[in-house]
Amino acid sequence: MPMQNQGMALLCLLVPILPLLGFILNGLGNRKLAKGLVSLIGCSTVLASFLISVYLFLDFTANGSRAYTVDFYNWISVGELQIGFSFLIDQLTLLMMLMVTGIGFFIHLYSAGYMSHDENFGKFFAFINLFMFSMLLLVMGANYVMMFVGWEGVGLCSYLLIGFWNKNTNYNNAAKKAFVMNRIGDLGFLLGIFLIFITFGSVSYPQVFAEAARFTGGVDTNVLIAITLLLFVGAMGKSAQLPLFTWLPDAMAGPTPVSALIHAATMVTAGIYMVLRSNALYVLAPTTLEIIAIVGVATALLAATIGLAQNDIKKVLAYSTVSQLGYMFLALGVMAFSSSLFHVLTHAFFKALLFLGAGSVIHAMSNEQDIRSMGGLRKFLPITFATFLIGTLAISGIPPFAGFFSKDELLAHVYEHNKVLWVLGLLTSFMTAFYMFRLLFLTFFGEFRGTAAQKSHLHESPASMTIPLIVLAVLSTIGGFLGIPAVFGAQHLLGDYLSPIYDYARVANGAALAPLHLDHATEYMLMAISVGVAVVAILIAYVMYVSKRTVPAAEGQRLAPLHNLIYNKYYIDELYDTLIVRPLMWLSAAFHRFVDVIVVDGIVNGFGKLTLLTGRSLRYAQSGAIGFYIMVMVFSIVLILFLNFFIG
């Protein structure tokens, strides 16, 4: 479809360009610009992007919701490979744009308060603006290569922001870990793109999906499984799925707004977006979908169990993010694509809220993150408490908060597909409710357990931090009404809206995308079960942490074996360290000692030594005796003449 007109094209271009402009201004003006100006530039560019996105969205729906491509120029043209610099504006893109810029704006606003004491304020805003640019490129690009560019861009920003406080070596190591793990995934993604080009002769979405829709090889051929699996490897890295999830909890080393923006609400959902975008390919490969569902549920379960025993407020949220991402992949695996996106959306609301709330707590506690030193904070931080409570209720799936609707819809699809996965999902849901309320009770209820100095410093955060909390709390409350289940007789706004993006998939494998077939009684039962499970978990948490006032064991105390195992995150980091990192280090050391020092250095130094030696022996010819010089000259001339005479 051709671009509508020049004005629209310019508007589309402005959406990612504005944050890029903010990045350039703030990046060049770091430490030179006043902090007020920096936050003004940082926030206003993102706000402008958000407003343009809203306009584009309204324009899109007003014009009959027809997807269109905006072509700017031919970016790469090599032989048959034609890659345009173009944007695809459709339902999915617009929704992601709204989510990224909207939540991004509130987190920028929050950062203006949260980071106000940091000397590298300008650098921080430059980086998060660059992140917005990359993320927008990722979701707006009309082909896999542009998605890859954004994909790498967000990876870079993630690295920069995790290691933002780069004077701490642990933080730098966390940043490196995130970067390397993402790189492993990216390799899969890149290979997937190559395979797509080889198979379909193009990397542009409409062409690839049109080709896929009339794919001749039939469903589940090897090449399709390979493509989808390789793409999924990329998603595994970016969206922190087993076995590449360990970087995400470590990524909490970054400033809290970064955790909220990148490692909870937006970047980590890039993997989901990619699978959703490629739905036409995935419906052709049910085997891959099975694998995705299993990986998703395994991740959800594993991360939730680890979350039960963590004592760092951000670590708990990090594991819950991993767990919720697992949920989303589970939904993708059972082909509940819209439900997955629904959960992405509601999760973005409540997880951003929870992270920002945690940031507010950390800010008030003078950078203390250990929940064992908190307690009773609801009296000191009333707004933070109220909003955090809403976020916790939402993630636990208590109606009418957003998490209930998305999680319920998701689990209903899983139930229809596979009962075992459903039970595991429900178990995860139980644990999620438990550890989230454990976190809430330990932080906000009971007596204050910190030092006196911390207690005297306790204060509610400034308005720039509480306003985003309130807005996100409102969104977490009403966000679920975008997708009210059919049982209640209302329209599923989100599902209807997203329907056109599956057009190609319907052609490719129509049977795969059938709507939910559960009768109403079953659906009510499922809802009751999931709410019941959550309520039971909350009650258990209440009894343990409020009535009995249990406080998790201090560092170094002996724990029961199972508790110890999950407290230490199943020793997965140690396992990777032993199996991969150490052998790699050993191999590198061996290569250094033998190949680098002996062979490479030997050759290079050998040339140096040879020159030196030659010079040392030849220098005796320069005796300083003029007669000798003249003699050599004469003989040389004679020799030249002779040679010229006989040879020339």
Binding site: R619, Y620, Q622, S623, G624, A625, I626, G627, I630, M631, V634
Partner: protein, 109 residues
């Protein structure tokens, strides 16, 4: 000069060539073997004059004046060069109280 003068023809060209070659070689050997800077300098002059003689002789036998023009140039340049050379030798003598070139071997390695 359309014709070669009778006087010149009485001595064949070969003789001039052999003579200048001999002069040149004497010069070269002198430069190589002598240690006194002034003698070396004189030998250099000898070599220059051997070339001058050769040029004149060939000019005469080939009835071409340009060779003799060259000779004048060489003589002028040689005169200038002698000035510089002798000045160097005088300075050398003032410094080391000798004109022996073998003593001038400071410039090594």
């Amino acid at each position: 000069m359309n014709q070669i003068p009778e006087v010149i023809r009485t001595v064949p060209l070969d003789y001039y060539l052999y003579f200048s070659a001999a002069l040149f070689v004497i010069g070269v050997i002198g430069v190589l073997t002598r240690r006194n800077a002034i003698v070396i300098f004189m030998c250099v002059e000898l070599m220059l004059n051997a070339v001058n003689l050769l040029l004149t002789a060939l000019s005469a036998y080939r009835a071409d004046a340009s060779g003799q023009v060259f000779v004048f140039f060489i003589m002028a340049v040689a005169a200038a060069e002698v000035c510089v050379g002798l000045a160097i030798i005088v300075m050398t003598y003032r410094n080391i109280r000798s004109t022996d070139v073998q003593l001038l071997n400071y410039l090594k390695w």
